[in-house]
């Protein structure tokens, strides 16, 4: 009797562990919470505020997805991951999506079996040095000690850049932004290198930000965006089109201020109508309801609003829109049509 119970339990455990992964959408709905992987803290992009609540440009994407799927922008469990642990966390199903300054590359998309759903920040790798070093260009960095986060694309770009330019350097591998800051400020490394947006973000948190300069060279393309696992295309679609909804909302002039009015009844612009669900059944196609995009946009405003609030020129981080402006304003932000 006891033995058969034991064997039965063992079989059940085996079957449960071996069962094919359930649809992420159903899992999230059942759980009532979206597990979103973020970094351990990049001010402006993702960092806990004074109340311990996560906020930032990447965090807004998580909140938008949670609002679209669960009708509650607060129903997000933020899982801090390092450059090293992020992919394992996503692949193992510990998080449903990653939204944490992660570069879209071929091998991550193809070999690591992830699906990048889009780009929410076009970035490039830069160098930050203390002004007192008198360095004005990255080509003068021969022999420098460079602080670098391990397990990132920046690590590989750095090796390539110095090799191609016939320069030597001493890499100091570190795990998190905080460690990098400590070493850099103490002078244990001359240079800190990472995505230039993150450099601006780190510099903004220094006591004396003006004593540090970001060199003009941008040595790589770093398109940063949210990603999900391969194999669950329905879930991938939801995250992709939530991001697109935020971008399209800015293009179409839908803001958190006027969205209530615009979504109340069908207006003159058919694309806005389709986006906000007053016309057509786009939400249904995604497996959600008609109001999904309304909730996503209301959660943290449209793409531009989120940008200005967290990392724009009026914030301590002070990033210009640049490449990240709408295509209509000379940038690269371009959402496919909602049709």
């Amino acid at each position: 009797m006891n033995k058969s119970v034991f064997i039965g339990a063992l079989t059940a455990a085996g079957l449960a562990a071996a069962a094919a992964p359930a649809a992420t959408l159903d899992e999230v709905k059942e759980r009532g919470v979206l597990n979103c992987g973020v970094s351990t803290g990049v001010p402006g992009f993702e960092a806990p505020n004074a109340d311990g609540e996560w906020e930032g440009f990447d965090v807004d994407v998580c909140r938008a997805v949670a609002a679209a799927v669960l009708d509650d922008a607060k129903a997000v469990e933020f899982v801090p991951t390092t450059g090293k642990t992020r992919f394992t966390a996503l692949a193992s199903g510990e998080v449903d999506m990653l939204s944490r300054v992660t570069t879209w590359t071929f091998s991550r998309d193809v070999d690591l079996k992830f699906e990048f759903v889009g780009v929410n920040y076009y970035d490039g790798q830069g160098f930050m040095v203390p002004k007192e070093l008198g360095v004005t260009s990255a080509t003068e960095l021969d022999g420098a000690t460079v602080c670098i986060q391990t397990g990132t694309t920046t690590e590989l770009n750095l090796a390539d850049y110095f090799r191609v330019n016939n320069m030597s350097y001493e890499p100091v591998p570190i795990e998190t932004q905080t460690e990098a800051q400590q070493q850099y400020l103490a002078g244990a490394c001359d240079v800190y290198t990472t995505d230039s947006s993150a450099l601006a973000s780190v510099r903004s948190s220094f006591a004396d930000a003006s004593a540090h300069t970001i060199l003009p060279e941008i040595i790589s393309k770093e398109p940063l965006g949210p990603l999900v696992r391969h194999g669950d295309n329905e879930w991938g679609d939801i995250v992709r089109w939530t991001l697109n909804a935020l971008i399209a909302a800015e293009e179409l002039g839908v803001t958190s201020a006027n969205i209530g009015e615009l979504s109340a009844a069908a207006g003159d612009n058919p694309e806005i109508n389709r986006l906000l669900g007053t016309e057509g059944n786009l939400g249904e196609m995604l497996g959600l309801d008609a109001q999904w995009a309304v909730r996503a946009i209301s959660a943290g405003g449209n793409f531009g609003e989120s940008f200005e609030r967290h990392i724009g020129e009026n914030t301590p981080i002070g990033l210009a829109r640049g490449l990240n402006a709408q295509w209509t304003a000379g940038g690269l932000m371009y959402s496919p049509p909602f049709r």
Binding site: A17, K84, L133, G143, A144, E155, L156, G187
Partner: protein
């Protein structure tokens, strides 16, 4: 007259497997073995199934692809174009370096502290007690991070050595202590063979030969002592044999010391002991020394007091009592737990990642894992490597233990 007849032969019945004590233990063992095998089989099958669900296959081909990243401390030739395998080898060597340095320093410190803890001097004994309790009751990771923070925050940056108004200066113009590590003069040969490794091998061989000859001299002195009762004075001969041949070889090959010099951003020339190495080395040694000290103390206390009293009665001086009577016996108690401390230190060295020391955990199981996404493969390899290193240490120490053990007749 009685006849002894055999009892009726019991035929084997299946129920005997359970009720007959002769067979029962075997039955249980067979069942346990089957259960264990089934569990292992299930684990492997489950892993394979999950890998398949993720669309991944077990493959070690990534080891031969270019690693793409740089490593600061490398004992063998390595560049970002080398393979992941090469990067793993660099990591293994770095692990071995920290293990050897750590075990050596921990043993020396441990013995000193262990002996001092038994000192009759109240203050010294108490201080050592505080040391032992403090170090072994705080996680080693904290000691490592603390040591690193001290290195980074209290030592001057290389640029403090620059210019006329330098706030820091080198010790004897040869050693520079900075927050990037310690720069010391490095030896090199001007007129040896082209390969540095070969040069050092020659020096080592000559030195080993000297030691061998010194041992011969000592053996002869002992023989003379046993034959005549008078031990010939040989210390000057021994000292000369130890130093002169090696010195001549070094002189012939043109040994020279290159001092570090501040050039550009960093000190160039000389040997760079990175602060990650120093922090890890000190923290691991100080931590493990606390445990070794306790082993040493227990070893010494295990020797009956009568032994030293008897030795004293024979007229031996206290330091000879320690070295000839107490320690040889104490070693037998000390060595087995010492093995496990060495193993602990080696395994704890995987915390190196906390300070960015590029050991096997940092290279193969860190960056390579992350850049290739081969979690299972890299972790399996890593476990295999640690297992091999640990078993080798165990084997070597067991041989030593067997030699030190009491020969029972």
């Amino acid at each position: 007259m009685t006849t002894l007849s055999d009892p009726p032969k019991e035929s084997f019945r299946l129920s005997m497997l359970l009720y007959d004590t002769r067979y029962r233990s075997m039955t249980i063992q067979v069942i346990a073995l089957i259960g264990f095998s089934a569990f292992v089989w299930w684990l492997i099958g489950n892993t394979a199934q999950n890998m398949a669900a993720l669309g991944k296959t077990l493959s070690f081909r990534f080891l031969w692809e270019p690693a793409g990243y740089d490593i600061n401390q490398r004992l063998i030739e390595y560049s970002s174009q080398s393979s992941h395998f090469r990067a793993a080898m660099v990591g293994v060597l770095n692990t071995l370096v920290i293990a050897v340095l750590g075990c050596a320093l921990a043993t020396v410190l441990g013995i000193i502290i262990g002996v001092l803890r038994l000192s009759r001097n109240w203050i010294v004994a108490r201080i050592m007690t505080v040391y032992v309790e403090m170090f072994r009751n705080v996680p080693v990771l904290l000691w490592i991070v603390l040591a690193m923070a001290i290195m980074i925050e209290t030592q001057p940056a290389p640029r403090a050595f620059k210019g006329d108004d330098a706030t820091a200066s080198m010790i004897f113009d040869a050693v520079a202590i900075t927050n990037r590590g310690v720069f010391v003069p490095a030896p090199s040969f001007t007129s040896g063979f082209a390969s540095t490794g070969l040069n050092w091998l020659i020096v080592l061989l000559v030195f080993a030969a000297s030691i061998f000859v010194v041992r011969l001299v000592r053996a002869r002195a002992t023989a003379t002592q046993e034959a005549t009762g008078i031990r010939p004075t040989t210390w000057y001969l021994q000292l000369g044999l130890l130093i002169v041949p090696t010195a001549i070889v070094l002189l012939v090959m043109g040994l020279q010391w290159t001092s570090p010099e501040l050039k550009g951003f960093n000190f160039k020339g000389g040997l760079h002991l990175r602060n990650s190495l120093i922090a890890l080395w000190l923290a691991l040694s100080l931590y493990t020394a606390a445990f070794i000290a306790e082993n040493v103390r227990s070893g010494i206390m295990a020797i009956s007091k009568g032994q030293s009293e008897a030795a004293g009665a024979l007229g031996l001086r206290p330091n000879r009592i320690m070295s000839l009577v107490v320690l040889p016996q104490a070693l037998r108690v000390i060595i087995p737990p010492l093995i496990s401390q060495y193993l602990n230190l080696t395994k704890n060295s995987s915390l190196a990642i906390a300070v960015g020391y590029m050991d096997i955990t940092g290279t193969l199981m860190g960056i390579s894992l992350n850049q290739t996404g081969r979690e299972l493969e890299t972790l399996l390899l890593g476990m295999l490597i640690y297992l091999t290193i640990s078993l080798l240490i165990s084997a070597a120490m067991n041989v030593y233990n067997a030699r030190m053990q009491l020969v029972e007749r």
